[in-house]
């Protein structure tokens, strides 16, 4: 596989068409556009209940130039298993099956079907686009909502930490797990291209900033995503056949002094505005601990 170096090398074709129904500044829709650029249109997409249910546009219209099966909230993994099996029967194994689900549909209600599909070594790519809340239903807390964040069901801030789904998937010993963020499009596209070449279950977890839910100006989506990575709140890495590797620019952030303080990321979002200094210190400490763990993973001290 040829590694793409700049966005100028991306295909010109667009498979996310004009007229889709996202909020202004939607991070997930940037990720979706990149997904199609990376994988082309020989793709069957399975979409459970999530923002993309609305993004695609209502019947009888669609803004996607690939076939799309809308599906039950918790059933993405199993549905993909069924499609993959049928395509194998029909000799159409050159088609890439992609589960494209939000964080609620992945880390909460959909975790069982996803775990089952991974354990069965279903040959597909599962992408979780994580905007850290149930966006489509009006911003309720999910298992992926970070500590302290305001949501409509955590009006004084979430009291628990974010579930670490990529490492849960890595524990399934699937051949490829990666994290991404649409603010780093080349990284994301290369990861998808790599995932397409690998046989088995591939899991990519995309942090996808959401101005509607995170409460920031719609022009700042890319900037917020960058800050998530630069502060170390979100790390870009991949685990290929069990081998953990931090990807640029996260690979340069093991040294704490290279990371921006998490406060810079938190301060840009109104969902965190009620946090006390003690809360912010706690979040900073957790992020630092995460990075100590990443360092161990990167040096193969543990998996």
């Amino acid at each position: 596989m040829k590694i793409i170096v700049t966005i100028k090398e991306f295909p010109k074709e667009e498979y996310l068409l004009k007229g889709h129904a996202t909020c202004a500044g939607c991070g997930p829709s940037i990720a979706l556009r990149l997904l199609f650029k990376a994988l082309g249109n020989k793709v069957i997409l399975v979409v459970p209940a999530c923002c993309t249910t609305v993004i695609q546009g209502p019947y009888p219209y669609t803004s996607f130039a690939v076939p799309l099966q809308n599906m039950l909230f918790e059933a993405t993994g199993a549905t993909c298993s069924g499609i993959v099996a049928a395509l194998k029967v029909r000799g159409l194994e050159d088609i890439t099956v992609v589960g494209w689900a939000g964080d609620g549909g992945t880390v909460d209600i959909g975790i069982q079907a996803l775990s089952g599909a991974a354990e069965r070594e279903t040959n597909f790519i599962y992408v979780c686009y994580d905007n850290e809340a149930y966006g489509n239903t009006g911003l309720q807390r999910s298992g992926a909502t970070p500590y302290g964040a305001w949501t409509t069901t955590t009006p004084t801030g979430k009291k628990e930490r974010k579930k670490n789904m990529p490492l849960i998937m890595a524990a399934h010993k699937i051949p490829y797990v990666a994290t991404a963020c649409p603010s780093y499009p080349v990284d994301f596209v290369n990861k998808l291209r790599k995932a397409k070449e690998i046989r088995g279950t591939k899991y990519i977890h995309v942090l996808a900033p959401c101005p509607t839910g995170w409460r920031y100006d719609t022009s700042k989506t890319v900037e917020i995503g960058r800050l998530a990575v630069q502060t170390g709140m979100w790390a870009l890495y991949e685990i290929e056949y069990g081998k953990f590797r931090l990807n640029p620019p996260s690979d340069r952030l093991i040294d704490k002094s290279k990371r921006k303080p998490v406060k810079e990321y938190l301060a840009m979002q109104e969902r965190f505005r009620h946090l006390t200094d003690a809360d912010i210190e706690k979040i900073q400490r957790w992020v630092d601990e995460d990075w100590e763990y990443y360092q161990k993973l990167a040096s193969n001290e543990c998996v």
Binding site: G57, A65, V66, L68, S81, A86
Partner: protein, 388 residues
């Protein structure tokens, strides 16, 4: 070549899935269904059956995988019971709404709490309104034949709906009976390759089952109702053709026995239908004019045929192995509803019991005949053999 084998209805359901050339099976174990999916696993791993077998982690996922596979263009099969079926509930609606002709064997088992593994029909009857065609079988041969017939019906372009083929746990599931497995070439001639109304196709991309406004939703529901009506019309023809080809037929929607001149008609579903026939013969020997009607296709409900049956009858006794708490058995309610617009409708008594043998049915018949002579039923619903 056709062959006669002696086996349980569960294994026979596996033989039927093989004979139907099912291409994807997704299943999860539950008593008393398990031996169906075990049999299919044997067939697939020995190479006798050319299919992909997805060993899912729940029944919800079993149905989701069947939906995915059917949407991607192949014939699918699954099987479940009781709590597994209840867990599928949401996906059952999705399968019928998506108009995918999936066929599923349901081995009827009572719902908990308390835990029970023994049969009643409340698991599948609770799924009455999911848009699935429902068959209820009376013996192992019918299980085989109905699975083949169900694919033919479901994949008819005038139908495109999924179907449950229900068989009672243990009474059929684990009981050995001789069954004729028909010649494969003849089955292939009766059941052409898989057909569905739409397919996930990269060359013709569209968004399936996306958000529909109220402006269109009702039309989609109406189309399912129309498909059900079509199924009701087509099923007797399919059953007749099957009878001509294979020598087995089941009365289409209702298996009727000595009903022509009957004063009392005993309505049942499932294996009780066999016991009812024995009871009818015994009662006829006593000079009592009794007939039996076994509702074989419960959805679509054979309203018109029930009315025809009721034309000459003076009383109908329905026996439900199920109840809708706070009301009565569905069979009683639906037969009553079917008769509502008849000017001269017969009396109706609803009864239900635990192990309904021909002896129980004879008692039920005698009580019903007494009410018929009185001109009124003393009790609309009777729980037969209930401990005080």
């Amino acid at each position: 070549m056709a062959q006669i084998i002696i086996d349980t209805a569960n294994h026979i359901a596996g033989y039927a899935a093989k004979a139907a050339r099912v291409k994807v099976v997704a299943a999860y174990p539950i008593t008393p269904q398990t031996t169906i999916v075990e049999k299919i696993a044997e067939f697939v791993e020995s190479g006798e059956m050319d299919a992909e077998y997805i060993r899912v982690e729940s029944e919800h996922s079993a149905m989701a995988a069947c939906i995915g596979a059917a949407a991607a263009g192949v014939r699918t099969f699954t099987a479940t019971s009781a709590h597994g079926l209840a867990l599928m509930h949401e996906a059952l609606h999705w399968a019928s709404g998506a108009r995918l002709p999936i066929v599923m064997a349901v081995v009827n088992r009572a719902m908990g709490a308390p835990w029970s593994i023994w049969p009643d029909l409340s698991d599948s009857l609770s799924q009455r309104d999911t848009g699935w065609i429902q068959f209820y079988c009376a013996d192992n041969q019918e299980v085989f034949d109905t699975i083949i017939q169900a694919y033919r019906l479901c994949e008819d372009e005038r139908v495109f709906l999924p179907a449950m083929v229900c068989l009672e746990g243990f009474i059929l599931s684990h009981t050995y009976m001789p069954v004729k497995i028909h010649d494969q070439e003849e089955i292939d001639a009766f059941l052409p390759p898989y057909k569905s109304g739409w397919i996930l196709d990269v060359n013709n991309p569209f968004s399936h089952a996306n958000l529909v406004s109220p402006e269109w939703y009702m039309e989609f529901r109406y189309m399912i109702q129309e498909a059900m009506e079509n199924a009701k019309r087509l099923m007797p023809e399919i059953d007749k053709e099957y009878g001509r080809r294979f020598g087995f037929q089941y009365g289409g929607l209702i298996d009727k026995y000595r009903c022509e001149d009957a004063d009392l008609i005993i309505c049942t579903m499932g294996t009780m239908g066999c016991e009812a026939k024995v009871a009818v013969d015994n009662l006829r020997r006593e000079g009592l004019k009794v007939g039996a009607a076994r509702i074989r296709v419960y959805r679509p409900f054979p309203v018109e045929e029930v009315r025809k049956l009721a034309l000459n009858a003076r009383i109908i006794a329905t026996i439900d192995r199920h109840t809708s708490f706070g009301m009565e058995g569905f069979l009683a309610s639906e037969i009553k509803a079917s008769l509502y617009h008849m000017e001269d409708r017969p009396l109706l008594a609803g009864l239900g019991g635990r192990d309904v043998t021909f002896k129980t049915i004879e008692e039920i018949a005698k009580k019903s005949l007494k009410w018929m002579k009185m001109g009124r039923v003393e009790k609309e619903t009777v729980w037969v053999d209930l401990r005080e």
